[in-house]
Symmetry: C2
Subunit: 214 residues, 2 copies
């Protein structure tokens, strides 16, 4: 007979909110801005971070979220970015406690900016507050125009949207105006940045927005 | 005072397994094969279904999983594919009960093949048995070579892997051999199909595999 037929959980979301609040306080005290990068697997989150370090000499620290492997952290390490790897071991999103614990150990001197690169997933990470200043929605143009309507939660929660891989536009059957109008339908006031990390285009504009975000 | 401080759940995974078992029985009785298509948002799951209908006259029915919108179902409807939309309303994966209920209502005469197109997500859908004959892992080459290692659960569970958007290969900094070796590392015996739905390449080989899968 299965004795574990009923599982009892604490109020998980409540606990997450408490850790997120502690993080918010910590960031405020240290005068650090933290942004939470969210998007599909392979949408170009790490590539944008590489471009920020390589071409714009951005001082930042990164908390790198993955299920397995330290590949992305290794990529960032090459550009002398202080980076900590958070492995979820199968989990589909980062939670506030993981971020808080790692944040306290990060070498933050001279890094007024912390980026959390969440697990590649357009759904679950949008639902978890990490105490960040803002969530950033990433979308590669290879994913098609309709994704903001099909995955609206992230685009409603986000403070900015970064469209990636614009360099591939000539090779795709893709209508950029259609994507922009889908974004507007979901979140009319969302700032949108059209970028190519490969060509270092639109990245400066996004960086200026990050620096000036209150 | 919050009276809902403790949440009590039934054994959710247990219930899912029971519904999956009922589905398995139903499919066996009706002599229907059901496959569960899983991959990132915009990786080309719907495009492959369109190509199967358009160029290969495949008789099939589709259960279309999405958080919101009926866009994919509308695309398939144009090709006279019997399609039912399953909306998760924010949920990150399909569960067995939703599939079982819809399956019973689908017009299945002359459709020995049912495809479940899961929510676009490389993580969560891999963990839920829907009673399918096999999960199929989709991966677009625009996502990068390392995804099987970074999201290994799906690639371990899958019975076949469909690599999509091969037509974009000349325009990407992408090493196909590196992807194939990452797949092998995770699941050495996984059959892999290299496809372009746009050019109708590799689709026939995948279809033959589907038809012959026991």
């Amino acid at each position: 007979m299965n004795q574990m037929n009923i599982r009892v959980y604490e109020n998980i979301m409540g606990a997450n909110e408490a850790w997120a609040a502690k993080t918010k306080e910590f960031l405020k005290e240290k005068r650090i801005a933290m942004f939470n990068f969210i998007g599909s697997p392979g949408c170009g989150k790490t590539a944008l971070l590489e471009t920020l370090a390589r071409y714009h000499q951005v001082k930042m620290a990164v908390l790198e979220g993955d299920l397995e492997t330290t590949y992305d952290a290794e990529r960032l390490h090459q550009w002398n970015i202080p980076v900590f790897q958070l492995l979820t071991k199968g989990g589909c999103h980062l939670e506030a406690k993981m971020v808080y614990e790692a944040l306290k150990d990060l070498p933050l001197e001279g890094s007024p900016l912390v980026i959390v690169e969440n697990v590649g997933n357009l759904v679950c990470p949008a639902e978890f507050d990490l105490g960040e200043n803002g969530k950033i929605a990433f979308l590669s143009i290879t994913e098609g125009e309709d994704k903001p309507a099909k995955y609206p939660y992230l685009f409603r929660e986000a403070k900015a949207c970064v469209i990636t891989k614009l360099d591939l536009l000539p090779h795709l059957n893709f209508n950029l105006d259609r994507l922009l109008s889908f974004i507007k339908e979901v979140n009319v006031s969302l700032p949108v940045f059209q970028t190519s990390s490969l060509q270092n285009k639109g990245v400066k504009e996004f960086l200026n927005w990050l620096k000036n975000y209150q």
